[in-house]
């Protein structure tokens, strides 16, 4: 019984950690993309805009 509770707690912590790291990774990638545009002092290309839009659509379908 105690093992089952402990397993659930550990599972919950791992789920939260993975979710958190996934979110941080996405935000980091967004930051890096913006940083690149700032460094190059330019607007995103059509392909870059389309790629981000497709990521958003893929997350809805997932």
């Amino acid at each position: 019984m105690n093992y089952a509770v402990a397993a659930n707690v550990v599972g919950g912590i791992i789920t939260l950690l993975v979710t958190y790291l996934g979110r941080e990774t996405t935000i980091k990638i967004l930051d890096l993309n913006r940083e690149k545009l700032v460094d190059e002092n330019r607007a995103p290309t059509n392909e870059e805009v389309e790629a981000l839009m497709r990521q958003i659509e893929a997350d809805v379908d997932a």
């Binding site: 979710t19 002092n41 389309e50």
Partner: protein, 136 residues
Amino acid sequence: MRKTILAVALALPLAACGSSNDRVEGWASLKDSLCSEASASYNQQDCDKVKLYDLLGEVRELQEIKDSLFANPNIPAEVVEKVNRAEAQAVIALRTYTDAVLSGAPVTDATVQASLAALVSFQQILIDLASQEGLQ
């Protein structure tokens, strides 16, 4: 081993905080420069693209927040459905906005407003959910 994993998990957000303000200011400055008619680099389509790109980034972050909230298995099915519906409406509106910008045609206020309204609605539903779950 466990201590190392914990240290890395704690260090990541701290490292990310580093030059956050510089990045935010740099991005805001680029938007201003591309969208200011007085600026030498002003171009309407570039301005539309940078504004849209900014908005798309916001939605991507909201999607990540949604995924974090959905990690809680106790969220009622009707709430999940409501959040998913709001997300889908925001994405449909943004697809219309994106197609308009990428076509190079002038973007109407109605298109922009529809995207903003759908985005705000999606955001509000997530805020309500986070408040209920005590996860804010």
